[in-house]
C-alpha cells in the first residue's frame, strides 16, 4: 500500500513577481439567458483555448498575412474537437449542433478573426456540405481528415464576373469519359490555395442559369487545378483568399456532389447555415473590441480622471455593449431554432446582416475609445475594424441579405 501522504501543491514563484496561470482576463458578460450549463462550460473552454493558443499569434498573423509556421493551428483546433461540431460521430465529429458551432466560431474569432474566418469556411462552409450531400463513399474518403484537422477544406462559387450573381458563374464542366473536365477561373476563395479538399461549383450546362450548376469535390494537386494568386486584402489577413484556375482539370464522376444539374440546391441550402455560423464571427469581434476598450477607458486618465467617467464615453461603451448583446441574442436564438429543425432563410440572413453591420460600428467606436492610440497599429483596434468589414460582404453582401429578407417578408402571409 502506498505510504499515505497529504500534499499541498504550489505554483513556484518567480523572483521578479508571482504569476498565476497565464490567462488573459476577459470581460465576462452574463449570457446565462442564452445558454445552458454545458454550453457555458464549452464556451469558457474554447475561450481559454483560443486565448492561450490562438490570440498570442493574432497580431503576427495579421502583419505577416499568414498563419504561424511554428505551430499547426488546424491540428490544435482538431485536437480540441472543434472542426466536427456539426459532423457525425462515425467520422470523428461530435454532432452537437449549430449553437455549439457558433460558440466555437465566436470565441475563435474573438482571439483572431482571420483564424475564425478560415475555421468557419473549413468546418462549416466546406465540411457541412460534404456531411449533408456527400454519399457514403465520399464521406468515408474525405470527412475524417477534415474533422481531425489534418486536411483543410474550402468551397468555391464566386468568379471574377460572378459575385452576388452566384448563379451567373461561367466555369465550365464538360462531360467526358469517366468524369468531367473543368475550365475556368474562380475568385475570392477562402483557404483555396492551402485546402486539400474543395467543393467547387461549375456549369455542366453553360446556357442554363441555375439549372446548369453542378457541385464537384476537387482534390489539391489535381492536374489542371492551381491556386493562381493569394489576394492582398484590407483585413482578415492571414486567412488566405485565392484566385483559382482550372485548365482542363479532370474530375472523376465519383466526385460529383449530389446530382448533375442539381448543384444550385446544394449551394442555396448551404448558404443559410453558412450565414448563421459566420454571423458568430462578428460577435467575437465585437466582444474583442469591448475586451480592449473597457480596460482602456477605466485606466486612461485625462483631466485628472479616468476617461470612462465622462458621460460621452459611457454612452459609447453602452452602445457597444447593447449592440453586442442584441446581436448575440439574435444569433443564438436562430442557432437554437436551426438545431430544432427550423431553418428560416430570412433569419439566417438577418443575423449576419445585423451582426456584421454592428461589428463594423463597434470596431469604429473601439478605435474612438482609444483615441490616438486607437489609430496606432500597435493596438489591435485597427485590425478589428479591417476584419469586421469583411462580414458585410462575404456570404452574401448586406444588399443581397436585405433583398432576400425583403422578398421573403413580402411573400409571407
Amino acid at each position: 500500500m502506498m505510504q499515505r501522504l497529504a500534499v499541498a501543491v504550489a505554483v513556484a514563484r518567480q523572483r521578479v513577481g508571482a504569476s498565476l496561470p497565464q490567462r488573459t482576463p476577459a470581460a465576462f458578460f452574463s449570457t446565462s439567458m442564452l445558454f445552458d450549463e454545458t454550453q457555458i462550460k464549452f464556451k469558457e473552454g474554447v475561450q481559454q483555448f483560443a486565448q492561450d493558443q490562438i490570440a498570442p499569434h493574432a497580431d503576427k498573423i495579421d502583419k505577416m498575412d499568414s498563419f504561424p509556421e511554428d505551430v499547426n493551428l488546424w491540428k490544435l483546433m482538431g485536437d480540441f474537437n472543434l472542426h466536427g461540431l456539426t459532423a457525425p460521430a462515425e467520422y470523428g465529429g461530435l454532432d452537437v449542433g449549430y449553437l455549439y458551432h457558433c460558440l466555437a466560431m465566436e470565441e475563435i474569432s474573438r482571439a483572431s478573426a482571420s483564424v475564425g474566418l478560415s475555421y468557419g469556411v473549413h468546418s462549416n462552409v466546406c465540411l457541412s456540405q460534404l456531411v449533408r450531400h456527400g454519399n457514403a463513399t465520399q464521406k468515408d474518403k474525405y470527412l475524417r481528415k477534415l474533422i481531425s484537422g489534418e486536411h483543410v477544406g474550402a468551397l468555391s462559387i464566386s468568379e471574377p464576373g460572378a459575385g452576388s450573381d452566384a448563379v451567373g458563374i461561367k466555369c465550365k464542366a464538360e462531360r467526358v469519359d469517366g468524369g468531367y473536365v473543368l475550365n475556368g477561373n474562380k475568385m475570392w476563395c477562402s483557404n483555396g490555395g492551402i485546402a486539400d479538399t474543395l467543393v467547387v461549383y461549375a456549369k455542366t450546362d453553360v446556357n442554363a442559369r441555375s439549372k446548369g450548376i453542378t457541385a464537384f469535390i476537387v482534390e489539391k494537386g489535381t492536374p489542371g487545378f492551381n491556386a493562381a494568386q493569394k489576394l492582398d486584402k484590407l483585413g482578415m489577413r492571414g486567412s488566405g483568399t485565392y484566385e483559382l484556375v482550372f485548365e482542363n482539370c479532370f474530375v472523376p464522376k465519383e466526385n460529383i456532389l449530389g446530382e448533375e444539374g442539381k448543384g444550385v440546391y446544394i449551394m442555396m441550402s448551404g448558404l443559410d447555415l453558412e450565414r448563421l455560423v459566420l454571423a458568430a464571427g462578428p460577435i467575437g469581434i465585437m466582444q474583442a473590441c469591448l475586451d480592449v476598450a473597457l480596460p482602456y477607458v477605466r485606466q486612461r486618465e485625462q483631466f485628472g480622471r479616468p476617461i470612462g467617467e465622462f458621460q460621452l464615453m459611457q454612452g459609447k461603451i453602452a452602445d457597444m455593449y447593447a449592440s453586442l448583446q442584441s446581436s448575440r441574442s439574435y444569433v443564438y436564438s436562430v442557432a437554437r431554432d436551426c438545431d430544432n429543425g427550423k431553418v428560416i432563410s430570412k433569419d439566417c440572413a438577418g443575423v449576419i446582416l445585423v451582426a456584421a453591420e454592428n461589428a463594423t460600428q463597434v470596431a469604429l467606436q473601439a478605435i474612438q475609445c482609444l483615441g490616438g492610440n486607437g489609430y496606432m497599429n500597435e493596438y489591435p483596434t485597427g485590425r478589428y475594424l479591417r476584419d469586421a468589414k469583411l462580414y458585410e460582404i462575404a456570404a452574401g453582401t448586406s444588399e443581397i441579405r436585405r433583398m432576400l429578407m425583403g422578398r421573403e417578408l413580402f411573400k409571407d402571409q
Binding site: A6, V9, A10, A12, L20, K41, G45, L85
Partner: protein, 241 residues
C-alpha cells in the same frame, strides 16, 4: 490506490473584487465564480498520476453551498472519476474544512490527498497542513514536483521555498482544458451529496470575521531634506521606530 483532491469554488481570479457595503466580506452576488487556480493544478497532478498507472480513481471533493456542484462538474469534465459535495455554509474556515476532509478520508480511504496550496479568496495556506496533522499523515507542501515509486511505496516531493532551489519549470503542471466530449461525459458522472452530520463532524465556527476593509490607498512618496526629518517621519508618522 485512490487519490482524493479537494477543490474550492472561489471568485474568479480575473474579477475585480469589491467589498460589501456592510464590510462583512467580499461581494459575491452576480460575480463570476470558478475553481481555485491552485486546486486546478492539484487536480491536474492527480489526473497525471492516475494516467501513469499509479492510481485507479480520482475523487474530487468540495464543501459549501449547492453551487459547489458546478465546480465539481468542471473537475469531472477535466477527468475526475466521481465527486462528493459536502453541503455546508459558504464561509468555512480551514480547520472546519480539514475536519471534514479527515472524515471523508476515513470513509473513502484514499492513498493520497492533494490540495491547492491556498485559496485565492482567503490566502490561508492552512488546510493541507491541518488535515495532515489531524490524520497524522506525512505532508509535502509547496510541491514543484511529485514523483511516485510503486516498488518502494514512496512519494518524493520537490519543494519550492523562498531561498531555495529554482527549478526550470516554474510550476507543477499546466491544467488541461476540459474538451466538449469530456464536458458531456461529466454530466453522467456521479456527484454524491453528504452532510457534516453524516460525517460526524461538529461544525463549530472557531473564528468570526469582524470586518473586511480595503487596504489603505497608496500615498505618494515624500522626498525628505535631511536625516533629522527622516527620523522624525519614521518615528511620528510611520511609527516604525
Amino acid at each position: 490506490m485512490k487519490i482524493m483532491v479537494a477543490i474550492k469554488r472561489v471568485v474568479d481570479y480575473a474579477v475585480k473584487i469589491r467589498i460589501k457595503s456592510d464590510k462583512t466580506g467580499v461581494e459575491t452576488t452576480n460575480v463570476k465564480m470558478s475553481m481555485n487556480p491552485f486546486c486546478e493544478i492539484a487536480l491536474e497532478e492527480a489526473l497525471k498520476i492516475k494516467e501513469s498507472g499509479f492510481a485507479s480513481e480520482v475523487i474530487a471533493v468540495s464543501m459549501g453551498p449547492a453551487q459547489c456542484v458546478d465546480t465539481l462538474r468542471t473537475g469531472l469534465a477535466m477527468g475526475a472519476d466521481r465527486a462528493i459535495h459536502v453541503d455546508a455554509p459558504a464561509t468555512l474556515f480551514p480547520l472546519s474544512v480539514a475536519k471534514l476532509l479527515k472524515a471523508l478520508v476515513e470513509v473513502e480511504k484514499p492513498g493520497l490527498l492533494i490540495l491547492g496550496k491556498q485559496a485565492i479568496d482567503d490566502d490561508c495556506n492552512q488546510t493541507g497542513q491541518m488535515v495532515a496533522g489531524l490524520l497524522n499523515w506525512p505532508q509535502g507542501t509547496f510541491a514543484s514536483k511529485v514523483v511516485l515509486d510503486k516498488e518502494k511505496n514512496v512519494a518524493t516531493v520537490d519543494r519550492e521555498v523562498d531561498g531555495g532551489l529554482e527549478t526550470a519549470d516554474l510550476r507543477l503542471n499546466q491544467p488541461r482544458y476540459a474538451t466538449l466530449p469530456n464536458i458531456m461525459k461529466a454530466k453522467s458522472k456521479a456527484i454524491k451529496k453528504m452532510t457534516a452530520e453524516e460525517l460526524k463532524v461538529e461544525m463549530r465556527s472557531d473564528m468570526e470575521v469582524v470586518q473586511v476593509i480595503e487596504p489603505p490607498k497608496r500615498k505618494a512618496g515624500v522626498i525628505v531634506s535631511s536625516v533629522d526629518e527622516l527620523v522624525d517621519k519614521l518615528m511620528n508618522e510611520a511609527h516604525v521606530i
